[in-house]
Amino acid sequence: MKFLRDRRVRNWTIQFLVIAGMAAVFAVIAVTTVTNLRLRGIPLGFEFLSMPSGMPIAEALISYTPASPYSRAILVGVLNTVVVSAIVIVASSVLGLFLGIMRLSGNPAIAGIARVWVEIARNTPLIVILLFVYGLWSVMPGVAGAFEPVPGVFVSQRGVALPAISADIGVAPIAGAVFALLAALIGASRIAWTIQMRTGKRPPLVAGVSMLAFGLAIGAYAFGWLDIRVEWPAKRRFNFAGGSEISPEFATLIVGLVIYTTGFIGEIARSGILTVKKGYSEAAASLGMRRGQTLRLIVVPLALRVAVPPLNSQYINVVKNSTLAIAVGYQEFFTIAGTMINRTSHAIEGIVLILATYLAVNLALSAAMNWYNRRIALVER
């Protein structure tokens, strides 16, 4: 029994037993489930994914009809979830940064407004915010009396109707142009930085590239090389036709999630800014930096180091909170998967699919945030 006293042997044995125990628990759960399912005559398997779904989906980014298979419906749902999450994450990060700065403002009115926002967002269940925002649409005028804040933009119970801009160019040339522009902007910024390092003066290369690109686009349009059309929404008997449209459900989900998430991100931004010692700002000021420069070049980069890890959890929360879309009639992944379970009765496979998808999306998001966190972390020498 001497070997039992060896610490390494003991550690390994305990680890082995814990892992074996967990494996046994999962095995028992799996075996029990499969046995019970067989007893009740419930078949397991993912073959149903290739059957026509028969379910209507109001808003799809890719072509979809009820004759499409369930796998396509799921893809539509995942895309909707990703788009909603991405818009909410970007919007509430920008707004949250401003909210955090506002809360630290010396002006009591500005700080007060920010404080009210944060308290409302933090102390109200998200679903209440969503249902409240959704309820606001019912007091909007009907299509006939739609409210027109800007010519061509109509707000009614049916959502927001906007003019649509369409151009007869393929996706490839547009993507190519965007890519070329981005590359040119990054290159210009690099060259400008090198010159600034050498001479102390930053040549306006980025602005130059932007103006050149803008000029090219205007020129191409003027010479008729670009066929850009604007389609205006028109009132029909029931709805607006033509143009593009933001549905009340989509708008409610975005607005509700942004109100809620911004409140939390605002507090993260405030705590990040508060960790930056006052001496840094004073040092920047004594070097002749303006207030905006100090904030942009000194305070925000230092604050980000503290803010990124909690931001990561907020972003993951956004993805998970988007499942509340079910309450306001917007069909994202969770709603569509729920309908699929109801129609096919494949509950276990459906739940596995839901868990795996959210895990994959959130792990990817986390990985990106961790990469960013390492990049901006204080480099110790």
């Binding site: 419930i42 109001a58 009820p66 649409w137 019912s138 119970q157 029909r236 009340p248």
Partner: protein, 340 residues
């Protein structure tokens, strides 16, 4: 010593994990009797079908059908509890055995019948479109471009819309909600021009939810009967028999003029068949029930006509016609197999 403890823990875990498997072998009827009440799956609130009133008592024809099964087993209509279920949760609730019986506007279909066990159709419904009279819609074609509030979870009425589009070459827009009450409320709030759902639910929405029922109009898409049925878990034939014949008892009683008021009297003075069914010695034995089980159902709940009248018919705000839900002799689809 450590090893012994670990082994014991494993054994306990294994036993704990496998115990549920053993418990599944118990039949649904045994489980119900042991528990002392029937667990019934209800909707989240459809007037006339299943909806809790202001005192929390479930009202509606679907709820009363569940009560009939409870009376058959326990002789007491109060021995029942209701679980409100969202559309997406209703079938898994039966499959997992969380509820004993689902009576909640569920259309009887091929794929669903393969997953659970449909017992009988209790209402023959048809899909109906509820819309505002001010829209001035005369034919289906006039709906071109209109927005419909639909339910994604149940799906059959929504499929009718797709078929309607194809048949009349019109384009409809949809807002898809998770459950019928959401879709209904969105229609009432003006989000949609029309709302499509089961005919009885649409009539109930107009009669009891709309602030001014006269503003709304109902139209049916086609005249085909859509069977809304009662479903139970698979694997207990005895429970299947009890639920099925509790429902047939309601049709039989109506056909033979047995009502809540006269059932006790008929049990003594009726013809031989009526006397036998209403409690002759040994009548309940084949199903393992009390001999007076049919009598108990009718005295406590009334026959199908009485249940219909108080929930959907003349005694309710809906005042629905029986239509296809009338007995066969009145031109409907309802009948009971022979009780021989």
């Amino acid at each position: 010593m450590m090893k012994g403890l670990t082994m014991a823990a494993f054994a306990a875990l294994l036993a704990g994990g496998l115990a549920p498997a053993a418990a599944q072998a118990q039949s649904v009827v045994e489980k119900i009797r042991q528990r002392g009440y029937v667990q019934c799956g209800a909707s989240t609130g459809v007037p006339g079908l299943s909806r809790a009133d202001e005192r929390g008592v479930w009202r509606g024809i679907d709820s009363d059908i569940c009560r009939a099964a409870a009376v058959a087993v326990f002789g007491d209509k109060e021995k029942i509890r209701f679980t409100p279920l969202l559309t997406a949760a209703r079938l898994p609730a039966i499959q997992t055995g969380e509820i004993d019986i689902l009576s909640r506007t569920t259309t009887w279909t091929y794929t669903r019948d393969a997953a659970v066990r449909f017992v009988a159709a209790t209402i023959y419904d048809g899909d109906a479109i509820l819309f505002r009279k001010s829209l001035n819609v005369k034919t289906m074609r006039d709906f071109d471009g209109a927005t419909f509030c639909v339910t994604g979870g149940g799906g059959l009425p929504a499929q009718k819309l797709t078929a309607l589009e194809a048949a009349t070459k019109i384009t409809l827009r949809r807002v898809v909600f998770e459950n019928p009450t959401q879709a209904r409320d969105a229609y009432m709030a003006g989000r949609c021009d029309a709302y499509i759902t089961d005919g009885t639910a649409a009539a109930g929405a107009r009669a009891t939810i709309a602030t001014n029922p006269a503003e709304h109009e109902l139209t049916s898409i086609d005249n085909r009967p859509e069977p809304l049925g009662v479903a139970i878990p698979r694997g207990d034939d005895r429970w299947f028999d009890i639920v099925r014949w509790s429902i047939f008892a309601l049709y039989w009683a109506e056909e033979n003029g047995v009502t809540a008021a006269n059932a006790a009297e008929m049990a003594k003075s009726g013809n031989a068949e009526v006397r036998r069914i209403l409690g002759a010695e040994g009548f309940g034995r084949p199903l393992g029930l009390d001999d007076k089980w049919v009598l108990n159902i009718i005295t406590q709940l009334g026959n199908y006509a009485e249940i219909w009248d108080r929930n959907l018919g003349e005694g309710s705000p809906m005042r629905l016609e029986r239509g296809k839900n009338a007995l066969w002799r009145d031109g409907g689809l309802m009948f009971s197999p022979p009780w021989d």
